[in-house]
Symmetry: C2
Subunit: 198 residues, 2 copies
Amino acid sequence: MLQTTERKREILSTSQRLFKEKGYASTSVRDIAKALNIEPASLYSHIKTKEDILKISCFEMADKFALAIKEVNDIYFNAEERLKMAIEMHVQILTSNLDAAVVFIRDWRNLSPEARSEFVEKRNAYEEGIRQIIREGIDEGNFQETDIKIAALAILSSVNWIVEWYKVDGDLDAKSLAEKLCSFILTGLKAGKPTQHF
Amino acid sequence: MLQTTERKREILSTSQRLFKEKGYASTSVRDIAKALNIEPASLYSHIKTKEDILKISCFEMADKFALAIKEVNDIYFNAEERLKMAIEMHVQILTSNLDAAVVFIRDWRNLSPEARSEFVEKRNAYEEGIRQIIREGIDEGNFQETDIKIAALAILSSVNWIVEWYKVDGDLDAKSLAEKLCSFILTGLKAGKPTQHF
DNA sequence: CCTACCGATCGGTAGG
DNA sequence: CCTACCGATCGGTAGG
């Protein structure tokens, strides 16, 4: 990723769009070439292999998330604020890269063993960042003493799932969506505690 | 699905295990045959096409979920109880069919257009069942006045995601897991409200 | 970016 | 359930 030419970016985004629709494994280089109106062989002036596209897609997203969690932990103080910020940035990254996000979330399994290991490591580091925030929130007394692993997975899965239904041209912007998710994650489904009624 | 012979069941479960590992599209009929120690052609005495395996896997799971939501709505009264029960049964179905569950959640996209439409319809009906419970909980005043669509998706995604990490031989049984998830979904991450401290 | 082409693998069939 | 085999498609290369 030392440089990515304009044409290569077109190949990447077109591929990601196709991968989102049919999945990486079911998308052929011929499909990609056709969508770009070029011959299959021409792709290989820009990429080395089909897996290259997958690798770049997965790791570019992983890098965005790594940067975001770093930013959150550098700036914000309180765990609740940091979690909110992390979720907001996460939603922002997903919604502004919907096609690549699906590849990142779903198709990374098709990476070759070495790339896959590296990817899983990066994803684990990000998840650990989220767990750390939860841990601190518990220590501060602001979060429930919950199972941290399950909490982190529940948060990430509910946030990641938006790539399956979010429409960029819909009436729900990323920030509003992030707020709704945050509220759900922080206070749950149940209505205000009984004390509210007395 | 009028009848499924014992051998066919072996083919199904072996295929689902492979699909879980590599995905439907990346698993060849030769992979399946090899795992069963038979020749690829022999598979076709039991199945018509590779997609048959996918179809049966997806729709058998869909049927289990349809039955579960029906049961929940027939027996339980209060929305919160019904939601808890629905989540518990959902977790139960997932954890006792982990391989097929992954296919159901992830690989249904590879269904042919007609089967895919039918599948999406069934899944939508189930999701609507969940939304209905949430709606009733709000009407009863026991659930927050939240975005029902987002709440349902957040619940289902966090529950479905367990297939990615749950280990049958781990120390967490399905019921405990369901309870943890329920608690998270109902009361969220934040610690008890201030009133608890006075 | 194209023409021409490669060996490998794909899902599946015929016939036993 | 097997042997033998099919046409189609796969990712990718040589050479321009």
